[in-house]
């Protein structure tokens, strides 16, 4: 059982992260991953870039708490959560969540749970650069509603 949490400006390679989740791991038949990227449209607006601010003292603590909650709910083994901060461009990676488990059900559920709680509890804020200026993104009620269903 291992947990990897990284919050930094540095990019990641999802393929490399999957290889690390699989390395020396013959116990797990399931590897579920999610990669979030900067998209070019949001709420009907053209997006040209994204700035991610965070609360440095709290982010890793918060992500580890969310992972601990997932471990309490499902039988999962290796977990990787990477979140980027700083200035990002269209198509850049933002976030990676990877979970391994003996069975796919636990891996799917835990990965989705981690993403859902990351969206409502981890201290990251997005500011979009659009063709008409910079805009802080508002939290979505749908993210709150989804997370509390777990």
């Amino acid at each position: 059982m291992s947990t990897k949490v990284r919050v930094s400006e540095a990019d990641f390679n999802a393929g490399d992260e999957i290889a690390l989740l699989q390395a020396n791991n013959q116990a797990d038949g399931a590897v579920v991953t999610f990669t979030g990227r900067v998209r070019k449209q949001n709420e009907g607006q053209q997006v040209t870039g994204l700035f991610l601010e965070h609360y440095p003292a709290m982010t890793a603590l918060s992500l580890n708490r969310i992972i601990d909650s997932a471990r309490a709910k499902w039988q999962i083994n290796k977990v990787t959560v990477i979140h980027r901060v700083g200035q990002l461009n269209l198509g850049d990676n933002i976030v990676f969540v990877g979970v391994t488990s003996a069975h796919r059900g636990d891996a799917f559920a835990a990965a989705e749970f981690i993403m859902d709680y990351l969206k409502i509890e981890a201290p990251f804020w997005k500011k979009e650069t659009r063709t008409d200026g910079e805009v802080w993104i508002d939290a979505r009620q749908s993210d709150q509603d989804k997370a509390i269903t777990w």
Partner: protein, 82 residues
């Protein structure tokens, strides 16, 4: 003294990333907000938003949580990572 931090849109609205204030015993997070609005009248509007979340010593807390001298209290808008 209590260290109070502000992030994202709230930090921009207040024009400041942090303040240090003296707090009495048994002061709650809600009372810190009231105290800040009294000490900094320009902050009345941004700090009155219902959408402000609080973290005490890097853990999300409700507004009725008691703070102590030496604590780090952070206020911020709902998070939008991921």
């Amino acid at each position: 003294m209590l260290t109070v931090l502000f992030f994202a849109r709230l930090r921009e609205q207040l024009g400041q990333a942090s303040v240090r204030i003296a707090v009495n015993e048994n002061t709650t997070v809600e009372q810190v907000l009231t105290q800040l609005k009294e000490e900094y009248p320009d902050w009345q509007s941004p700090l009155s938003s219902n959408n402000i979340l609080a973290a005490l010593n890097q853990q999300m807390v409700s507004k009725d949580t008691v703070v102590n001298a030496g604590d780090e209290l952070a206020f911020f808008p709902p998070v939008t990572g991921g």
